[in-house]
Every structure is written in C-alpha cells, then in structure tokens.
Subunit: 664 residues, 2 copies
Amino acid sequence: MEGIDYHDGERSKAEFDVEEMKIVWAGSREVLEVSDRMGRLVASDEAFRKDNRTMLSRKDLFKNTLRKAAHAWKRIIELRLSEQEASWLRFYIDEPAFTDLHWGMFVPAIKGQGTDEQQQKWLPLAYKMQIIGCYAQTELGHGSNVQGLETTATFDSQSDEFVIHSPTLTSSKWWPGGLGKVSTHAVVYARLITDGQDHGVHGFIVQLRSLEDHLPLPGITIGDIGMKFGNGGYNSMDNGVLRFDHVRIPRDQMLMRVFQVTREGKCVQSNVPRQLVYGTMVFVRQTIVSDASSALSRAVCIATRYSAVRRQFGSQNGGPETQVIDYKTQQSRLFPLLASAYAFRFVGQWLKWLYTDVTQRLQANDFSTLPEAHACTAGLKSLTTSATADGIEECRKLCGGHGYLCSSGLPELFAVYVPACTYEGDNIVLLLQVARFLMKTVSQLGSGKQPVGTTAYMGRVADLMQCCCAVQKAEDWLNPSVILEAFEARSARMSVACAQNLSKFANSEEGFAELSADLVEAAVAHCQLIVVSKFIEKLEEAIPGKGVKRQLEILCNIYALYLLHNYVGDFLSTGCITPKQASLANEQLRSLYAQARPNAIALVDAFNYTDHYLSSILGCYDGNVYPKLYDAAWKDPVNESVVPDGYQQYIRPMLKQQLRNARL
Amino acid sequence: MEGIDYHDGERSKAEFDVEEMKIVWAGSREVLEVSDRMGRLVASDEAFRKDNRTMLSRKDLFKNTLRKAAHAWKRIIELRLSEQEASWLRFYIDEPAFTDLHWGMFVPAIKGQGTDEQQQKWLPLAYKMQIIGCYAQTELGHGSNVQGLETTATFDSQSDEFVIHSPTLTSSKWWPGGLGKVSTHAVVYARLITDGQDHGVHGFIVQLRSLEDHLPLPGITIGDIGMKFGNGGYNSMDNGVLRFDHVRIPRDQMLMRVFQVTREGKCVQSNVPRQLVYGTMVFVRQTIVSDASSALSRAVCIATRYSAVRRQFGSQNGGPETQVIDYKTQQSRLFPLLASAYAFRFVGQWLKWLYTDVTQRLQANDFSTLPEAHACTAGLKSLTTSATADGIEECRKLCGGHGYLCSSGLPELFAVYVPACTYEGDNIVLLLQVARFLMKTVSQLGSGKQPVGTTAYMGRVADLMQCCCAVQKAEDWLNPSVILEAFEARSARMSVACAQNLSKFANSEEGFAELSADLVEAAVAHCQLIVVSKFIEKLEEAIPGKGVKRQLEILCNIYALYLLHNYVGDFLSTGCITPKQASLANEQLRSLYAQARPNAIALVDAFNYTDHYLSSILGCYDGNVYPKLYDAAWKDPVNESVVPDGYQQYIRPMLKQQLRNARL
Ligand SMILES: Cc1cc2nc3c(=O)[nH]c(=O)nc-3n(C[C@H](O)[C@H](O)[C@H](O)COP(=O)(O)OP(=O)(O)OC[C@H]3O[C@@H](n4cnc5c(N)ncnc54)[C@H](O)[C@@H]3O)c2cc1C
Ligand SMILES: Cc1cc2nc3c(=O)[nH]c(=O)nc-3n(C[C@H](O)[C@H](O)[C@H](O)COP(=O)(O)OP(=O)(O)OC[C@H]3O[C@@H](n4cnc5c(N)ncnc54)[C@H](O)[C@@H]3O)c2cc1C
C-alpha cells in the first residue's frame, strides 16, 4: 500500500493552479519559500517528533519541550536563521513553550514600553537568550480588569528602589506562560505607589531567578499552576504562579517610556504619547488573527481529507459507498469552515498592513485612526478566535468516531487552541469594547465627524437605513456589492437600533449594562462585515494563476452567504432582506458547495502543511488512513502487555467471585 | 477561612424551597433519597478519589479504574445494593469503565435479542460478573452504516458452528468500550452467511479471552486503540480493536430471538416481531438524554457558582467589584444553559414514561407508535447531546482563564462528554432519520392517517400554516399556549416547505440528498418543539413546595424564548412572528434573566451534587475558590523540584551561550 496516493483522483479534479494558490495563502512567493523550507526542516529532524506527545507524563512532556526549545535555538544559531526564519521554525515545531512568551510578549513589552536606554540594556540580553523573560500581568483575582491588579511597587526614595510585593493571596501572579519553571526575568505589572499615592498599573522588569543556579531569588515564590486542558496541549507550557515578599529592584527597572518616576519620587508623564501602547496591541492581535487562520485551516485540512477517504452508506450494486464529503450536510458544515479559514487569512494579511499604517501615523503624531484600529483589532480577535475554536470542534465531529482519537490530531488542536478565546482579552469583554466604540460612532454621526476606516460605511447611515436589497434570483447573490450592502445595512441598523434603545435610559451606563447582550450582537455584525469586506477587497487585486481567483470568489461567496444564512434573523428583523431573498441565498449557497466540491482537496493542499505539522493520521497527505490508524493503536503503553497490569488484583478476583475476601 | 460559606448571601436570596426542588429534579423523593445516599457513599470513600486523575499516566489511570471498578463491585456485594443503588453508585464514581458497557450494552443486548434459553444461560453469569461483556459493533471502516459491517459469521453445518472472521483490515472491530483489555466476552455483530448467502448483520455471543489466564483465545487479536481526547476523560476506558481469524463458536451463540438458523442451516424468522429491537433503542437513548441533563447541569453548577464568586470591574469608591454573574452578557450565556439543563431533565423523565409505554404496547402487539417513538428518541438524543457538548464548553469559557485549568473540572467534563454526539448514532445521521419521518408524516397528512404522539400537532397543519402570533406586548410571551403555537407553527411550516421543495425533484432520494441541510434544520425545529412542549406539560402537573413551580415557569420561559431568539430567522422567514414580536420576546427574556438571578445559586444547589462529583474547585459548594486553587497548583508533579528536570541539559547551556557545543 506504501506509495499509493488515495487522494490522487481528488487532486486531479482541481480546477485551479495549486502552486499559485499556495502563494496567495502564504502572502507572497518569498514567504511561501521561507515557510516551506522551515516546515521541511522541522519535519525532517527527528528531534522535533511529536507523535508521542499525548502519551508522555506531564514531567516528561515538559522536559521534552525544554529539549526541543534548546535544539531549536541551536539550529537557529548554527544555520544563522533570520528572525523571520526562526519564527517560522518555532511555528512548525508546534508546541507551546516559554519561547513564545519570551519572543512574543517579553521582548515586545520592553520595545514598546522601555526607554531607549532600557532597550539598549535589556534587548541584547533577551535577543541572545542570556536572559529568558515572561509577561506577568494576570493575577489569581484579576485578569480582564487590569486596573484592578493588586501587586504593589512602592517607591523607596532612600534606596532609589521599588519594593515589589504581593499583599494578598489573590494578588499572586497566575497564568503567565514560561513563568513557572523557566523564566529568569519577567515584566511584572504592579500598582505604582509613591508617597502613599496610587498611580495605577505599570510595568517593571524583575529578575526572578538566579542566573547561576536558577533558584528563585530571595522573597520570590514560584511554581507551576498545574494541568490544563488536553493531553499534550498547553501542558508543555509552564504557566506559573508567583508571589513577592518585599522584593527590591532598582528604580531604572520600571518601564519608563511613557510614565516616569524621578530620583526624588516625582511622577512625570513623558512626552511620548500614551497611545503608543495601542501600537503593540494592534501587533499582538494581528498575530492572533493570523494564528486563527492557521489553526482553523489545519483542522479543515484534516477533516476535508478524511471526508474524501471515509465512505459510508450509498453503495449501489456492491460498488463503493459514498464518500462522506459528498453528503450535502457534510458540505454545509465543512465548506463554510474552509471558506472561513481563507477569510481569516486575508483579514489577517490586511491587519499586517493596518499595523504598518498605524505605526507610521504614530510616528507622525497622527492619532486619528487609533481608536478605530483598536476597536477593529479587538473585534477581529474575538470573532476569529471564537469561530476557530468552534470550527476545530466541528471538524472533529465531522470525522465521526475516529476524530475522538488523539491520533486524529483534532483533540489536541482544540485543547491547545481554545484559550485564544480568553487570553489577550476575553472575547465578550472585547466585543463590549467594540460596541462602545460603535455607539460612540453613531452618536457622533450628526456632529459632522466622519467615521473612518472600517466604520466609514456608517457615514452612509441614512442610505443604509432605507436601502432595499435588489436580489431577485439566486445568482444575484453572487454580486459583491449586493452582499456588501446587505452586511452594511444589517450592521448599521443593528447599531442604530441599539443606540436608540440606549437613549431611552436616563443613565447611559445603566443602559449599556442592561442592553449589553444586544450590543454584543451588533458588534459581531460589524466584525463580520469587516471580514466579508476585506475578502471582497482582496478579490479586487490582480490574482495570477489559472482558476485561482475563481476559487477565491466561490469561497468568498460561501463565507458571506453562510453568515447570512446563519444570522438570517438579523437580516430579516432589520428588514435588510426579505424571506424570499433569504431563501434564494440558501439556494445559491447549495450551488456554491457543489462548485467547491471538486476543488476541496486542492484547496486544503494549498495550505502547504507537512504531515509532521498536521500530526493527524486522518489528515495525512496520501489518505492511507486505515493501516496507519491500526498500526498507531498498538503503540499505546497499555498495549505493552496483552493481559493488563491490574488483572491479578482486580479483574480475576471479580470473575472468580473472590472479591468478598479481597483487599482492594 | 475554613468553614466560611461564600455563597451564604446568595443562598439566602432564594425565593423557593430548594429541598422540594431537589425532589423535582431527582424525579421523586425515593430517587432523591437513593441518589443522595449513594453520592455521599462515594464521596466519603477514599478509594473513589479522583482529584489526581488528570496527572496519571495512561497505564496508571487505567489500572486505577480497574481498582475502582473492583472496589465498587465489592461494596455493591457487601452492602447488598439493589440494581438501582448500584447504578447510582457507578454514576457518582464518575469514570468511564468497562462496567458501563457490561451493564449498559452487553446485558441489554442479550435481554433484547437473546431467546429465553440464551437469557437463562448468559444473564446469570453476567449478573454475577463471572463473565464481563462488551458490545462489538463498530469496525474500523464502518460505524454509522451498520449494514455495511464486514465481519462474517459463516455457518458450518458439519460442525454446527459459526466461523467468525475478519476478512479485511477495515473489518477489524474498533471502538468497543471494555474490549481492549478487560472483556471476556462480546456481543459481536457480523454478516450471517449460510450456504454462501448473505443474510445481513446479526449479533453473536463470542468468548474472547480465557477465563483462566485472560489471554485472548486462539485466532483472536485484541488491543487498545490508544489515547483519546482529554487527560483523564475516556482514557480510563479500554476502547479496543479486535480481529478474528476463523474463530468458531457453537450455533446457539447467535442471538436468535428474532431470526434463527436451524441445525440444517435454514434461516427462519421467528414469530417475535422485529420491532422489538426498537424497544432497546428507546431505552438506551433515554439514558443518554438523562445523562445529557446530568452533564450539562454539572457544568452549569460550576459556572454559576464561580460567576457568583468571581468579581471583575465595577468597583465604586473602593467597594467590591461586580460579581460577573451580574453582567447581562454573562446571564444571557449562562441562564439559558441552566434552563436547558432543567428542560433536558424533564424531557428525559418523560422518555422514561415513553419507554414503559412502548414496552407495554409491544407486549400487546401494538406497533402503531413505534416509528414515532423511534424518531422522537433519535431526535432528542441528537438535540440534547449537541446542546450539552456546546454548553459545557460555553460554561468553561464563562469561567475565564481559570476554566482552562483541569482543577476547574470543565476540560475533563467536555472531553469525556463530547463522544455522546457521535456514539449511539452520529447526531446528523440521526437528524436525517427524524427528517425522513417528518417528510413521511407530512406526505400522509392528506390520506387521513392521523399523526401520533409528538407529531400530533401536524394534524392541525392547516391551522398552523396560517395562524398569527397574538403577542402585542412583552408579557404576552409568558403565555404557554402562545409559545407552543409559535413553535408548532415554525416546525410545521419548515417541514411543509421542505416537503414542497422535495416534490419538485423527479427522484425523491436525490431531492432528499440535495436538500438534506434544510431537512436537518426542520428536524431540529421539531425536536426543540418537543422539549419545549414537555417542559410546558410538566408545569401542568401539581408541583408542591414554596415557589418551586414559579421558578420552573421562569426557566421554561427562558428556555423557549432563548431558542426563539437564537433561531429567530426560522420564525421570521416562515412568518410565524413579526420582527416587532421578536424584539418583544427579547425584551421579555431580559426581564426573565433578572428574575432568575437571585435564585441562580439555589437552582444549581437543587442538583444536589457533592463536591466529589463536581470535582471542580471553581464549583465547590462553599465558594472558597482562591485558596483551593492556590493549594492545588503545588500538587502538580512538575512542582516536585523548584529547578525543573532538564535545567542543566537544556536551559543553562542556553543562558550561558554554550549551546553551539552542546549535544542535544
Ligand atoms: C493558556 C493561557 C495563557 C495565559 N498566558 C498569560 C500570560 O502569559 N501572561 C498573563 O499575564 N496572563 C496570561 N493569561 C491570563 C489571561 O490573560 C486571562 O485569563 C484573561 O485576560 C481573562 O481574564 P480572567 O481569567 O480574569 O477572566 P474573567 O474576567 O474573570 O472572566 C470571567 C467571565 O466574566 C466575564 N466578564 C468579565 N468582565 C466583564 C465585563 N466587564 N462585562 C461582562 N462580562 C465580563 C467574562 O466574559 C467571562 O465570561 C493566560 C491565560 C490562559 C488561559
Ligand atoms: C468514545 C466512543 C465509544 C464508543 N463505544 C462503542 C462501543 O462500545 N461499541 C461499538 O460498537 N461502537 C462504539 N463506538 C463507535 C460509535 O458508535 C461510532 O463511532 C458511531 O456510530 C459513528 O460512526 P462513525 O465513526 O463511522 O462515523 P461516520 O459515519 O464515519 O461519520 C463521519 C461523518 O460522516 C457523516 N455521515 C455519515 N453517514 C452519513 C449520511 N448517510 N448522510 C450524511 N452524513 C453522513 C457524519 O455525519 C460524520 O460527519 C464508540 C465511539 C466512541 C467515540
């Protein structure tokens, strides 16, 4: 059976150039080349094997991650990898590790919040990994409400030091990744106290462990917070707990780019605008959106390939049964997720542009687009991570019973992915921020202030409140401007309705609280519009390659019409479309699924994932699923002996009715 | 802090008699008494501890389960527990084990499909656990399509035996619980072949392992299929793989209640009606629905209690922050799940009645209600398990970051629960069966055949196609008959629309395939109506206890209006309600949440779960969450040493820049 490609037939059906699609997915030929090279490098290196991951005990799993991280660093140095290459390498190693926080949070925090001198001192150490850092914000008692953190940093002007202290149990730092066992340093967020006055929460660089023997420094208690969701999953990460007992650090370890404490203990706002921090936030959220498209596409790749291999029912005269991917119910669950993966990819690419744009404007002291950029990234983070978490689990279900095996790769993918809905802002809390911004935008519409960026459509609110959808037959729904108008009208009308309901409350904060569930729905409608519109914009670019653009058009329409179908209540209740038009959209959707069907395997091939990265038997490239499942089963430790450990003590006495006398 | 009850204030707010509600939840005072006693028995027995479950290796976990099962059996014998008591005991032990399949599938299969003699021979052995059995139906290549199973049972008239054989790799039995390591026997489903003729799939009792040394008998290969979702989860179960190489069993081990093979190899249909098997199916699905209410209520109990402890934002003048349960977004996610748990409980109780009814009718040779009962249980299995799986994960997210810790209990609950969406019928495949039944019902409406049971409302289809919802103000939505009519109209109209669309196809099978996604939606609408109507029927009973009925009315309305809000597109597009009425429903829902709020903690207390059963720090009865989280963290094995294993090899060389020379 070796060497046979069970997807050969499927691949030959594709109506587009897969290699060109790979470039579109990657973002550019260069990125494809680098990521492809790094993907192969990881896949071919035995040291990065991960197929045994779910069978390791926590301790072994953790040690194994330390080994991989060290090996990766060694390879990065030996091969003189660029920053971009190194980051793709870590991506393909595909195991949460302290390095994620070191590179993804510790370094950016110093870059974003440290003064030039602080950057000069700390960044070289961090870049060489002579220190390892983490990001210690969340506490046992406070996550979402950062302003409620309890850790204190009290300035002692006598010694020119800050005293970092955990005054309560709930002030224990709790969750920071890399903290529990590895980090030598942390950016710690604490309330700044000078002269008995509380100046709110600021960041401090604190050394946690000795660089000689790795023991926590005096006054510092650190540990791991214990097992998390999944077998492997996030358990390779040492999310940690940390308490301070009056730990002293020099004054110059407060991150002082924006806010400074002088030698005398005076607090000074620097001339660097506070808004700078938003730049970092836009950056971090952009990576989260891009990670969402990676995670979702991975799950979709597995479910799509397996759905083409799996056959069930429908055999005619002893012929083969139907591939489950041919069932319309399977398509109506799977193809919208395939389309979502592409949609999130493109909105992620657009966010990269937005980040550059925001950064340039910040440098030019132009803050006009910041609130909009902030709301937009908050919303997209929430939308894409929620949809991805749900989508991964749907893909698992689409694989029937076998999706429940760890060897399918899907359980671990879900377990490792879901915290993205919570970290970097709980998704509901973020949507409430979006809603707040939308209400502000609506309230300013009369004042002549033109909404910008992704809220620009609100400027046409008068039109959008009364426009009528022009669809008369199913194909009319293929028109991008028809789709766009329907989504804009729905979003505008939902926001306006919320604003009107809010205005009935004497106290607007009370109103906001009371109507918050509706406000969240309005925020979701707005975010969905952003994703749809960015997909449509993408299609306005020149996209080379035979049939590539055509496929993307199909996916874009699937994404939009699937949303329309799923949220049809919004569209109908706001009168944006009629029931008849809704039913035409559904009809069109069915026909789009039929068009996507022959291209499904090629569309997931375009993600260019190695079997190593997928780590899924059901999703393997050659589709030779059954022998691989069968062989993998025997590797489980419980199969080491035919008669299980415990038989003599527990099973035999039961069968032999000797239990009454047994001691258990 | 010990002894303090952080929920005291919450408990004193309750407006109803919790002890009486416990009885309603349990089903009767007797059941409450038994389940309460068994719950305490398990909780107080050190042997049943489960707080270390997620930290054990697969082998240790599995052995631990064997130990618990043996201990449970010992207690059952020592205490002379009744069947009911024993089954509650197993419930509270709360760990998937081979005994689930032995009692839940093997014994019922013999009871349902065995002749009187077969029952007399095998049941006593099984009741005493002198043999341990499992249910071996699914194969590597076939699950949903049972008629496609490949294992053969060929009758050899010379020796009066069946030869059981696995002709292909994909015919390997795959998934049966208890098979991998423990079972001595199995009910094996195989194609019956006599004289070269295939008579379809039948059940056979096959001994798998020697009762002396537990080794597989000659010709039999057995193993475990490996790790599944979650840390503990279903990994305590030995789901197994099984191959037969021409294994011989005596003829009288074919289960022959309905279909018999004579000594001469003749096949005879017995005079017992084939429909009997449906009785068992109704029974099994009824337990699944009842399990759904248990699992969902458990998650809801955890999330509700924690939401009352967790405070975030909203502190006024240094006062305490807002309990997150007071946020409307939290309520709009949590309270519908609380209401769903109760709704599923009552529909489960009703299914118990349905099972008795069906059994009595079968005995009286009345098969008239069987197809309806079959469709109804299929649909309710699908609806309740899908909603429960999603609901558990939503509860986890409602707990923010801390819900991601295994010590919250929620990750394991999700991992162990989700396969319920797949086993005993994939949920989509089941909904397609419901849809088929609905289409048949609609097509027969003209013929004068009156629809029965849960489809009786279809008899009023003419009215339902044109009725108008009478709601004019928000409170009108509290009227059960208004709710019922809206749900009936929606369901009837969706079914009729599907039937009309189907009639446009020349080939009705092609039409069914093409429209299957719409058909599934119609099936869901029908099933939701069943749950709503059974909840309403429950409220027509006399329910004693101060305020108990009032609370149930609130929950019933929350359940119905939440469904209406979530599926408002169905109601609007079929013209069952107007946008204005939809918005009034939403308004009413908000006010219902406010009414449920003070009773929330008491409503989850009524489930009467012990802290042992919940196994969740976030859900503990006294609400003393933070010290418990803190203390639990330190028990993780990686905390055994302050400096982690691997430091010298992997971390220190990195920090000291000695990696280039290191061998990793
Ligand atoms: C795997 C993982 C890794 C992490 N890594 C780090 C790290 O490296 N460093 C770090 O500092 N932290 C880290 N965290 C912590 C993470 O940032 C927080 O968990 C997150 O911010 C959510 O906060 P919380 O847990 O306090 O949730 P809570 O705020 O307690 O949320 C509980 C519930 O309350 C609701 N809620 C809260 N506030 C409101 C409101 N105002 N209105 C309506 N509803 C509300 C939420 O929607 C949610 O349903 C990590 C967490 C996880 C799970
Ligand atoms: C934890 C667990 C325990 C189990 N225990 C047992 C046991 O004790 N004994 C036993 O015999 N089995 C057991 N099983 C097996 C279980 O019964 C099957 O997995 C289940 O019946 C689903 O079948 P499948 O895996 O073949 O799914 P598939 O049928 O392969 O499903 C794959 C996909 O195809 C779709 N699909 C399939 N047919 C159709 C159709 N006609 N129309 C539209 N879509 C379709 C499904 O909706 C799904 O999305 C267990 C499974 C699990 C996960």
